[in-house]
Homo-oligomer: 662 residues x 2
């Protein structure tokens, strides 16, 4: 079993990496861009679609307002990118929003940001993978019925790649990101050229009608619908902060490289998003959450889905089934999966930081065989698979949960930056730069706070309430964990040097029958030369005790044998009682309880022996001044393991050492 | 958590029983009859029905042969009861068929019987409970859709009752068994009186037609169908051997009382079975496995079931919805549940016997709080619930698996008895009695062997193959377990007195940071006055080691501190390597590894601390000459448990002792 597990682990992870090779996993810009910018760039594939989906609720009449909603999103995107460039320069340590909040707004604000970011990362994985699968299905409709499974498999593959280490993932991901940007850019360009030439592309859905949910919208209802559409469009902003959390993964000079990467990413995102939105309006794309609301939808609207906006555009521009159509879909699907990968970079890093500061369990800080924070990767993978499965892999349903966390951390981060610049201004001798930066961040703060309110107001009942519950829960959890660690630390802090040694040592050897493990335990106990030495047995059955006594005499064992009775056939209680009694009069003494222990080779062999030793060991831990010494007896069958280890010693396989090295 | 579990346990089980109250749980005849005879008596409720179901496959024309099939079953029943009375007298120790086979046919035959009996007990529970639920549904059709759940709940209730101990279950079960025998007897009598008076009862299904599966049966096909019907009717014999396995639960003189009980049971079973079969033929009952094959069945034949034969007879004799109809149905449902209870008596006893002889895991031999063999009861409950669930609670499907095991053990037992009497005849001075007994058993052996062949031939493809697989698997499992225990026993057998003490003791204290648990571990290690004493730390991060060293000096600790490096961040391997190295030159020495251990109060607190100590402890068990001493440090939060224990110390609650007694 063990060696099979080892083999699988090695196949998935590759050979382990030494701690001192840490520096080699840093990323140059051309690899950092695909790793960190895939998230915001990938939003292009669904942001336009989500705007159109919401506007459709008001019918065809409202659809013509799409460009204005898109414009709002573009402006916001520009401001947020500018704001985060300030963050990258001011805090190049990779703490991102979390660190900004921690330094400028105090502990509680930083924990709120941390909670929001954790939710955010999980949602990134869930939404991106689901959207990726949607684009895959747009190209290969036969996959429609297995889309949830596909998404789950993709998350597992991502987790495995990240457990192998950041650098390889960067390399594996560069090609597809560039492929998507090129293909999508080409689609937009060719579409525009066709429009300019007088034969604008026409989407397959251009002729369809829409059954509106609300009709004759006026006044407040119309404004509310526009705000909802805008809030949905804000998904285009998700992932903008990823670079600010990943600065330490950049090659030096880190802040400079990260800032440049951010700028390139911002321009690409704005260009692609506005291009796609414009082309969607030009070609007359129609979408609805439920395809049955589309008048003219071909086929069974209940057992198939509508093609994504991207797919419709590619088909309109290059022709359905053309090579470029498949290239665009492949690029979209791939970049979405890579966007999920951003979260697999960010979440473990944030988790490790929080664990180091004792807000999360320590295990999130340890690095695995390949230097990745394995536990964080595993947690992220598991939670996002659960989300995808429970929302049936629906992008539109998942997106409702996405944007609250994003804008909560945006807002707190920008507010923190404003305070940062206030502080700098008091001390700086170059107030011009700081003033400009403060203005950027202040505008960012006001805008993102407004959007946060809009998002909360328009999405709360559509699923966002789940996030509104999750963030405070995470917050309280982190505070609780911190309190626990602090308390333990305080409790364990030594006041002076070594504690006083106990004055006397009493050895108690537990015996049920006279067999070699018991004899070995007695021999070992005697070797430690304790002050008193007793063999103890529990009498469940008189005949057994009698047998034990006669064997004892036959073999001439010179140990005193004490018998405690157990009228209720329980083993633990009489022994604990005996030991409590022993310690009552000798509070400063040490009692060593020797328990003979069989070591077997197969797990099922363990089932054939009574488990009472385990229960007893566990119970004795609560007794002060008592230690349990388990004296193992290696049964022949345990040598099978020994042989296994000789071939593949677990430690050796871990580090790629050959058996003959031993 | 613990105290809640304790409360539930007490509610289900009642207060624990002292070992010396064992004798009080013996049964007088009037309680033993309902406990052990409920199984064969309850077969009356389905045996007739199963005969009719099979004959129906040949259409209405074949149905008139039912009385002849029934007669064959009655003859067989008489022979088997007579045979088993011999067993009860010859082997009153309660081993039943198993012991007969073991004494006369050798170990392998006895293990085959044991395997067959185990399967048999499981099937008794599954079939009886499923049939009980069928009768309940016949009275209350609304329960049809939840019948699987009902069956599962019934098994759980039975398991709970039996965990409380045999005597109480005997008492709780007496009334319903007598109720059923009386009610069923009355039904048959009144039915016969009505027939004699000229207005014979007419079943609700008397006018219905049947769509036959096979038509125009002649020659071999007809004989085969009759044999199938006979094999199904043999379910009437299931449970006949129960008394022979339960002899030790009878009051003294055991064999005499058990033999009398068997005779009463045999007469009742034969009387009721022939009565029900005759009445079913008289009143023209029609049944089919699938109600849709019945021409004239009212209602939706796919979402409801047909009423049982018993229910149809009671309705025909006393009138549908009459008080007596409900009394008969309640009696039938209850006795079937009690039949399942027979298995809950027999299985744990057989399991305990096999465990004592080391053919099954030891845990099956221990007696629980209430002196019942709790683990056997739990295993039986779990397996039968699994069976009921996977066969959707269908009696007809489950019965296919039932009879093979029963007749396999019947046959081997009777063959064993023949050899027993051969042996007796050579030594006895009353050859007349032994000759008579041998004749009875020989006839029994030949008949049951024939039936076994018929059952195998007619039922193999209908599900019996599962049992044909299960029995050899259980057989091999028991032999494997026996071999393991024997091997371990031989390996652990001491040749002489105490083993040699190791010549020197080396104490190694594992340290990661300087905190109180580490200091206590060092103090304890020093108290045992070892020959050498070292503190050992694993360097994963240079900075941490540096910090440790400076703390070490600051506090003036006079222990030598050794550092082993771990370039791959693994803890276990470097420590094991260090210890192997230490032992290499000193093979006869003892190494005591002291591991500081936090004791926390909540399970989730345990998650917040690294689990590496556990892994290391496990790994070190494989090293000869090394013992692990875990030195617990009780954190404040563990006192919460201490307080809990002060109120309800687990051991005290177990034995009903008040806290103030402490």
């Amino acid at each position: 079993m063990v060696s099979f597990r080892q083999v699988v682990k090695r196949l998935v992870l590759g050979p382990p990496v030494r701690s001192d090779r840490m520096r080699e996993t840093l990323l140059p810009k051309r690899l950092a861009l695909p790793v960190f910018a895939s998230d915001p760039l990938s939003s292009v594939t669904y942001a336009t679609q989500e705007i159109l989906l919401i506007l459709s609720l008001g019918g065809l009449a409202v659809l013509h307002l799409a460009p204005w909603v898109g414009l709002g999103v573009v402006l916001l995107l520009a401001v947020v990118v500018a704001s985060y460039r300030q963050v990258v320069h001011a805090y190049p340590s990779g703490g991102g929003s979390y660190e900004v909040a921690a330094r400028n707004l105090g502990r509680n604000a930083s924990l709120v940001v941390a909670a929001a970011l954790m939710v955010d990362y999980v949602m990134t994985v869930a939404v991106s993978v689901a959207a990726g699968v949607d684009n895959l299905v747009s190209a290969v409709p036969a996959l429609y019925s297995s889309r949830v499974w596909l998404a789950v498999v993709l998350v597992l593959v991502l987790a495995a790649l990240n457990l192998r280490g950041a650098r390889e993932s960067g390399r594996a991901f560069a090609v597809p990101t560039y492929l998507f940007v090129t293909a999508m850019g080409l689609t937009v360009l060719v579409g525009f050229v066709q429009t300019a030439a007088g034969h604008a592309p026409v989407a397959e859905s251009a002729g369809w009608g829409i059954r509106p949910e609300q009709t004759d919208l006026t006044g407040i209802a119309l404004v509310f619908l526009l705000l909802r559409a805008f809030a949905s469009g804000c998904t285009a902003l998700t992932g903008v902060e990823a670079i600010s959390n990943g600065v330490p993964a950049f090659r030096r000079p880190r802040a400079h490289n990260a800032g440049r990467t951010m700028l390139i990413m911002g321009c690409l995102a704005i260009g692609l998003f506005s291009g796609v939105t414009a082309l969607a309006v030009i070609s007359g794309v129609r979408v609805a959450e439920n395809p049955c609301d589309l008048i003219g939808f071909p086929g069974d609207c209940r057992n198939s889905g509508q093609r994504t906006v991207i797919a419709q555009l590619a088909a309109a521009v290059f022709g359905d089934g053309s090579v470029m159509f498949y290239v665009v879909q492949a690029g979209a699907a791939l970049i979405l999966v890579l966007a999920a990968n951003t979260a697999f970079n960010g979440f473990p890093m944030l988790g490790s930081l929080l664990a180091q500061r004792r807000y999360l369990p320590r295990q999130l800080h340890t690095r695995g065989d390949r230097l990745a924070h394995s536990n964080g990767i595993i947690v992220l993978g598991a939670v996002s698979i659960a989300l995808i499965a429970s929302f049936g892999g629906s992008v539109t349903a998942l997106i409702q949960l996405y944007i609250v966390g994003v804008f909560l951390s945006f807002t707190l981060c920008q507010v923190g930056m404003v305070r940062h610049w206030n502080h700098e201004l008091r001390e700086s001798d170059d107030p011009g730069r700081a003033h400009r930066a403060r203005l950027i961040n202040a505008v960012g703060a006001v805008l993102t706070a407004t959007v946060l309110c809009v998002v909360l107001a328009t999405k709360f009942t559509h699923g966002a309430y789940l996030v509104v519950l999750a963030i405070p829960l995470l917050f309280l959890l982190m505070r609780g964990i911190h309190r626990h660690y602090r308390q333990v630390r305080r409790e364990l802090e030594p006041e002076s040097g070594l504690l006083d040694s106990p004055s006397r040592v009493h050895a108690v050897v537990l015996v049920s029958t006279v067999h070699k493990p018991a004899l070995r335990a007695m021999a070992f106990a005697r070797a430690t030369r304790p002050d008193t030495l007793t063999a103890l047995t529990v009498e469940v059955d008189e005949a057994d005790t009698h047998l034990l006594r006669s064997e004892w005499e036959r073999l001439g064992i010179d140990f005193p044998l004490e018998v405690v009775e157990s009228p209720y056939r329980d083993i633990t209680r009489p022994i604990v009682g005996y030991i409590k009694e022993l310690r009552r009069s000798r509070a400063r003494d040490l009692v060593c309880v020797y328990i003979p222990d069989y070591v077997v080779g197969h797990w099922w062999e363990g089932l054939l022996h009574n488990q009472s030793a385990l229960r007893l060991t566990w119970r004795l831990r609560f007794e002060p001044g008592v230690v349990v010494v388990s004296v193992p007896w290696q049964l022949d069958s345990s040598h099978r393991r020994e042989v296994d280890r000789a071939h593949h010693p677990p430690g050796h396989v871990r580090r790629g050492i050959r058996p003959d090295f031993r």
